[in-house]
């Protein structure tokens, strides 16, 4: 394993420290327990947004803390959900009196830890609502699983719910728009090569030179199945078909197309995937109204990509376009 790290056990702490040094004008890093808030938290009268999960998905979540998006991010150990004793103080720290929304990706660990934290924060007098994100169509038969995972759609939920909170929506309204985004978003990912968790020191799985994993999550876990290598257009068609089958868009509907890199894939390749996806969507009669291309929710240095499609309505477009000022996403300010 070759990584730009010092002690494998110190990766999260040191990385967050560096992040805090680079973005000290935007965020405050709290240690013991570890969480990150907006520098100006709590914002009085505004609904607070808290998200979190294992580390290793950077810029998610800390990179989305700032005006128009999250009020706090709670990073766990690498690929391990954070604990209630981090989530609770983060929740209290960003409550501006209007309550707090937890945005939780649907993994057993995240769900259980946020659930406990929400109960305890409520006991401390903060109203909490939870938006569960479960957009991964790779998990087909959710009756026999822990349910669909939360993946790329999380970024879109955080942006749009964040904008709703920023314009003054109340607690239930912010949670409702977050859930509406989740209901209209679908994702699917693939890997060319696995990532290496620092404390493990070996790749999470081994792929031969002519194999790829389809239907991966964001934790370096193996995917639903392994297939022979395909070219970018073939891979794109495969991911998109799974998404569209599930989303069942109507002709003429507007979508946001999000092509995401898993961390070790160059931007040039993401553009090649975007090219195909945009063309296929157009051919099928859908309108790509907004787009996002880049490394926004990653699995350390995994090579691969995910595609996310969000069915847009006018309010979502307006909230997507609303100003945002975070380390990783910024416009209008």
């Amino acid at each position: 394993m070759k990584k730009l790290i010092n002690d494998p056990r110190a990766v999260v702490d040191e990385s967050v420290e560096g992040f805090g040094l680079a973005y000290g004008d935007l965020v405050t890093v709290h240690t013991d327990p570890l969480f990150i808030t907006r520098a100006d938290a709590p914002v009085k009268g505004k609904v607070g947004l808290v998200s979190g999960g294992g580390s290793g998905h950077e810029p998610l979540h800390a990179g989305y803390v700032g005006k128009g998006m999250l009020d706090a991010a709670v990073p766990g150990a690498v690929f391990t959900s954070p604990t209630p004793d981090q989530i609770i103080p983060a929740t209290l720290a960003v409550d501006g009196g209007a309550g707090v929304v937890h945005i939780v990706k649907n993994y057993t660990g995240d769900v259980l830890n946020f659930e406990t934290a929400a109960e305890m924060a409520q006991a401390e007098g903060v109203e909490v609502r939870t938006v569960l994100v479960n957009d991964d169509v790779a998990v087909e038969d959710s009756l026999y699983t822990a349910g669909r995972r939360g993946v790329g759609g999380t970024v879109l939920v955080e942006k749009i719910a964040g904008a709703a909170a920023d314009r003054g929506d109340n607690l239930d309204a912010v949670a409702a728009i977050g859930s509406r985004v989740n209901a209209n978003v679908r994702s699917m990912g693939m890997a060319l090569a696995a990532c290496t968790v620092p404390h493990a020191g070996v790749p999470s799985f081994e792929l031969a030179e002519d194999e790829i994993e389809i239907g991966i999550g964001i934790h370096g876990e193996p995917g639903r199945h392994r297939i022979p290598m395909e070219n970018a257009d073939g891979i794109t068609d495969r991911l998109l078909e799974a998404i569209l089958t599930d989303l069942s868009l109507n002709q003429g509907e507007k979508v946001l197309l999000f092509v995401n890199g898993m961390g070790g894939t160059p931007l040039s390749e993401l553009y090649i995937v975007y090219r195909r996806a945009a063309k296929v969507l157009a051919e099928k009669g859908f309108t790509v109204e907004r787009s996002l291309v880049g490394n926004y929710i990653t699995a350390i240095e995994m090579q691969g990509c995910s595609i996310t499609v969000l069915r847009l309505d006018d309010e979502m477009i307006q909230l997507w376009d609303a100003p945002v000022h975070t380390p990783a996403l910024r416009w209008g300010i």
Binding site: T80, T108, A138, G220
Partner: protein, 211 residues
């Protein structure tokens, strides 16, 4: 050795030692069907517990289990943190202020722990989770206790059943937790949480036996 506070502390220290020792093995199991961190998570939690036990040694077995619950809840994270946290908390509540445990108290504490895990995680038997170790352990412990066995025999029965239960997860297709995302591909691998359960229970039995 009587199952008093000192025993509880010896047990938890032995559990910490065996989890540290098996860290890489548990990670390997988790890498095959999960995200490879189970050993790391358990080790982090039990190392933190060692420090707490030194700071303020608990006065009863129940207090020791409550401290364990709180520490695991705040240090382990992932699915295992809240599940083991709840398990130890329910067991502590079941034991109350008892200063030394008999066989049926041991069995009831194990049952309370298992019920807590099921309440939190909603897993059923054969879902390929730690429940597949806990439930046979509870059944074996209860049978031993009802037959009037001493605490050592109750714990030994529980540990052996947990270990058999862990082995029996090999062919199962996971339906809960991260391994469930793999579908059929999860078959042929052992569930890491079931194995850590067996290790912790074996440490409990060993601590009595070696006293």
């Amino acid at each position: 050795m009587g199952l008093d506070a000192d025993w509880a502390m010896s047990w938890l220290r032995a559990a910490a030692a065996v989890l540290a020792d098996q860290r890489a093995y548990l990670c390997d199991l988790d890498r095959a069907i999960g995200d490879g961190d189970h050993g790391e998570n358990m080790d982090r939690g039990f190392q933190a517990l060692l420090a707490k036990l030194d700071e303020a040694p608990p006065a009863t077995p129940g207090a020791a289990l409550k401290l364990t619950a709180m520490t695991l809840m705040s240090k382990v994270g992932g699915a295992a943190g809240p599940l083991y946290g709840t398990a130890f908390l329910r067991a502590a509540t079941a034991l109350g202020e008892a200063s030394e445990l008999d066989g049926s108290q041991v069995a009831e504490a194990l049952a309370a722990a298992r019920d807590g895990i099921v309440a939190r995680g909603k897993a059923e038997l054969q879902d390929k989770t730690m429940v597949d170790a806990w439930t046979p352990a509870v059944d074996a412990a209860r049978a031993a206790a009802e037959a009037g066995s001493a605490p050592l025999q109750v714990l030994e029965a529980a540990a052996k059943a947990a270990q058999d239960g862990a082995v029996a997860t090999d062919p199962l297709v996971a339906r809960k937790g991260r391994a469930s995302y793999l579908g059929e591909r999860s078959a042929g691998h052992r569930d890491p949480g079931a194995v850590s359960t067996a290790l912790i229970l074996q440490a409990a039995a060993d601590t009595v036996a070696q006293a």
